[in-house]
C-alpha cells in the first residue's frame, strides 16, 4: 500500500461511515433487503441473543480490565491533540477511532510527541483481527464481514508502512482478550 493515514483519510472516513444505522438508500446501494440489513446491524452492534455479536468497541476485544485504561488513555491522547470524540459512545467506539486516526495523523507531522507508528501500535493493532473475525462469523449480509476485513487489512498495512526502518513492534500495554 505504501501510504500513511493522511493519504488514505478518505478511505478511513468511508469505513467509519459504514457503521451508520442502515437506511433505505444504503440498502439500495448494497442491493440488500433493508430489514435484513437492519436485523444484522442490530444483532452485530446493538442487541442480540447471547449478547451483541461484534461490539463496535475496540476495548471489548482486549482483556476486560484493559478496556477502561484503553478508553482513558485514548481519550486523553485525543484531547491533548485537539481531537474531540463524540460523547454518544464510549471513547473506544471503532468508527470514531477511525475518524480520529485521520485527524491525529494529520497532527503527527507537527507534533513531536505524537508518533504515528506508536499510535497505530498502541491503539489500532490489537483488536482489528478479533473484530473482523467476529463480523466474519456472524454477519449474514456479507457487508459487515467485508467491512471488518477491510478495516483489519487497512490498519495492518498502515502499521507496516509506518514502521520505522529497523523498528520492531513495541511492547503494548494492552492485552488481547483470551
Amino acid at each position: 500500500m505504501n501510504s500513511n493515514p493522511v493519504a488514505i483519510a478518505g478511505k478511513l472516513l468511508n469505513l467509519a461511515g459504514c457503521f451508520v444505522y442502515p437506511s433505505a438508500e444504503m440498502a439500495e446501494q448494497l442491493q440488500l433487503d433493508l430489514t435484513d440489513l437492519e436485523n444484522n446491524h442490530v444483532r452485530l452492534f446493538m442487541s442480540d441473543r447471547g449478547g451483541v455479536k461484534a461490539p463496535p468497541y475496540a476495548g471489548c476485544y482486549l482483556d476486560s480490565e484493559d478496556r477502561h485504561r484503553f478508553m482513558i488513555n485514548f481519550n486523553g491522547l485525543c484531547l491533548r491533540h485537539g481531537v474531540v470524540l463524540g460523547t454518544s459512545h464510549p471513547p473506544d467506539h471503532i468508527p470514531a477511532m477511525l475518524e480520529a486516526l485521520t485527524l491525529l495523523s494529520a497532527r503527527a507531522d507537527d507534533s513531536a510527541d505524537l508518533d504515528i507508528f506508536i499510535l497505530l501500535d498502541t491503539y489500532y493493532h490489537h483488536w482489528p483481527t478479533a473484530f473482523a473475525a467476529a463480523l466474519d462469523q456472524h454477519d449474514r449480509t456479507g457487508f459487515y464481514a467485508a467491512l471488518g476485513a477491510e478495516i483489519k487489512e487497512t490498519l495492518v498495512a498502515l502499521r507496516h508502512d509506518c514502521l520505522p526502518q529497523g523498528h520492531q513492534s513495541l511492547q503494548s500495554p494492552y492485552a488481547l482478550r483470551a
Binding site: L13, G17, Y21, Y57, V83, L147
Partner: protein
Amino acid sequence: MTVTRRKFIAGSLAGVGALGAGSAGLRYVSQAMAQPTRTEQTRYVNSSCNICVSACVFRGQVVNGVIKRLEPEPDFPKSRGMMCARGNAGAATPYDPNRVKSPMIRTGKRGEGKWRKASWDEAYRYIAEKTNRVVAEEGGHRSCIAFASTKGTFQEHYFHQFREVFGSPNAVRHPTLCLSAVIRGFQSVFGTYPAVDVRNSHYLILAGANLAEGIIPPATIDLFKRPIGSRKLIYLDPRFTKTAALADKWLPIKPGSDMAFALAMMNVIIGEGLHDQDFIDKHCVGFAELAEHVRQYTPEWAERETDISAGDIRQIAREFATTPSAVFYHGRRTTWQGDEVQTRRAIAMVNAIVGAFDRPGGLIPALEIPLAPYFYEPAWYTKFRPRLEQGDVTFMSPGDGAWIPWRDRALRSDPYAIRGLFIYKQNVLEMLPDRNKTLELFAKLDIIVCVDPFMSGTAWYSDVVLPESTYLERLDPAVALDEIEPVVIFRQPLIKPLYDTKPCFEIVSELAAYFKDEDGAPLSDYFEGSVESHTKAALADHPGSLDKLREKGFFSTDLKLKFGEYRSGKKTVRTKTGKVELYSEDFARRGLEPLPVYRRPADIGEGKFRFVVGRHAIHTHSSTAAFPDLNWHMKENAVWINPVSARKLGIKTGDTVLMKNRTGGEVKIKALLTEGIRPDCLYYANGFDSLSPDKPLVYGKGASQAAILESHFESISGSALLHETIVEIRRA
C-alpha cells in the same frame, strides 16, 4: 444476495461510507484546540449509588472523561465511609456493550429477539397508537393499561405521574415482593416502621435478616465493625449465612415458626416478671390481654414448633430482657409464610414489653428532613374503575398494589381485562414468583412497553424498549432519606448520557404529548419544568443546599434524633390510640386477630423440601448477576442441599438436579452439598437463568428463583409468600 469483499471494495465502501456524511466527512469526532497537558485530567463528581436502595453517596473519579472508579464519600453519615463491591462494580455499567442504545421496536414474535432501532418519535407513536386503540376497544376505560415499577431510582414518581394523568389506577410496585408485611406488622404496634439503633445495642436478635449479605444499611456496618465481645448477636435462619458466621449463636429455625419463637420469648419474659412494667404502664395498651394470650406458648411447646431447644429460648429471653439495650431487629427481610404480618407484630411486641423503644439501642421512629413536595395538576376522568385486586387485601396501598392477587385477576380478566403493561425498571419476569404465570399474562397483553437501561428478561419480552440513561449519566431530583441521621441526597451526571438514551422524566413527559385526556388536552400539559427546576423547588426551604448537593452529593441539617421524646410526651406514637398497641382494636374491627395466634405450617410431606430464599453476598436481587466484575466471583448458582438429604437421593456436589414445585414450575441446576442448610430445606441464589439472551453472563446459567417459586400471598398486607414453595428434587 450478499455483499462480497470484492464488491465492497469496488463500490460499496465509497458509496455507503459517504452517505449522509458532514462537510469534513466526520460523524463521530470533531476538532478543537489541543490541550497541551501530558497528565490525565481527573475530576471528582459526588453522586449516589443506584445498585441497591441504600443509595450510598460516592465520589466518582472521572479521568479523561471516562468513569474510572467510585470511591466512598467519607463524610456521608449513612454509609459510614463505605462503598460496597456491588456499588463499585456499577462504574462499568455505562460502558456495557449490551446496553439498550436506542429505542427498539420488536419485529419478530415476543421473546424471539428480532428488533429494529427506532427514533424516539417513532417509538412514542407506536406506543400511543396501540395503547389508544385498546383503550377505545375497552370503551374508553384507561384502567386496562397497568403500570409496574420498582423503587431505587429517584425518577419513579414521574412514571406514576404519567399513570395518574393517563387515568389508570393499576399500579403494581415492588413492596409486596419486599417489606410490606414487615412494615404493616410493625406499624400496627408502633404506628411506624421504626429505625433500629444498632450502634448502641448490645444484644441483637436477627430473624433471617441476613445483614452481612444484603444491601448495606448503616445497621450492617454498625453491627459488624464492633469489636468481638462488645455485643451479642443471636441469628435465626434455616441457612448458615455469612451473618450466621458472624453471630454468637446460629439457630437453624424451622421455616414458618418465627412467631412461635417470639411468643415463647414473651411467655418467659412476662412469666418471670422481666418485662418493663413502667414503660408498659405509661406507653402501651393491651398488655393484660397479651399476658394472658402468651401463657399457652411455653418454651417447651415452642421447641417442638421451632426445633430450638426450650433451654435456648429461655436463656435468650432472659438475656434479652435484662440487657438494657437489647433489640429484636425487624427486617430486613422479605415475607415468608402465611401469618407473616402477625409474626412481625409478635416480634414488635417482644421489643415493646422490654421497653426497647425510644431509647439508645432500641427501635426509634426515623427522622426525615422536610422537602417541598412535588406538585402536578391531577387529571379527572368520568370513566373510572377501581384497581383489579381492590377487595383482596385488607390494607391495600393504592400506589403499590399487590402483585400476586393482581396478576391472578389479570389472568382471569376479573373483573375486567388488562390489555397493556408499561414497566419502569422492574424485572417482573425475573422477580415475580411463578414465571410461567407472568409469561401467560404477557401472552395476553396487546402492548408491553419497558423503560430500562438494559435488556432485562422483561425488556426482552416487551414490544417496545425505551432506554433510560444510567444513574451515572443523569440528574435525579433530591430525596430525603428517613434515618437516625437524616440526610438529603440526589444524583448528578458524571458523564453525558451515552447512546440515544434519556432520563425517565424526559421519556414520560415526551410520551405524554402523544396522549390526550378526556377533554382533548395533551397529557404533556401536566408535566412542567425539568428535573433541575423540581430539585430547586424541593430545596426552597434550605438555602444553599443545592450547592452542597453539587459539591458533596448530600446535605444534612440540625435536625437530629433525640431519644426520650416519645417517653416524655413531646411526641406521640402514631397509632389510633396514640400508644404502643399490644392488642389491636383496629385489627379486631376488621375481623383480624387482635393478638398473634400461632398456626403450625402445613406438613411438607415425605421426600419433599421447602424452598427458601435469601440474600447472598455478591449480588443484589437479579440486577447485578450480569455485572462482569461481580459475575467473575459467581458465574452460576447452585442449589444448597444438606448432605443427609442428598445422600438419601444419591445426589453429589456438581450433579445436575431437577427440581419441581407443586404448580408446574421446574428447573435444572447443579447441586451444592452443605451442612449450612436444614435437611428439610433447599436454597439457591437469585439472579441467574435470565430469560434475556441479551444478558449472556446469566442467560442459561443456573436457575431462576422466579421459575421455581410458587405464587402465594397473605391477605393483610398483600405480600407474596416466598417460603410457601414445596419442591421435589432428584438427579436429572
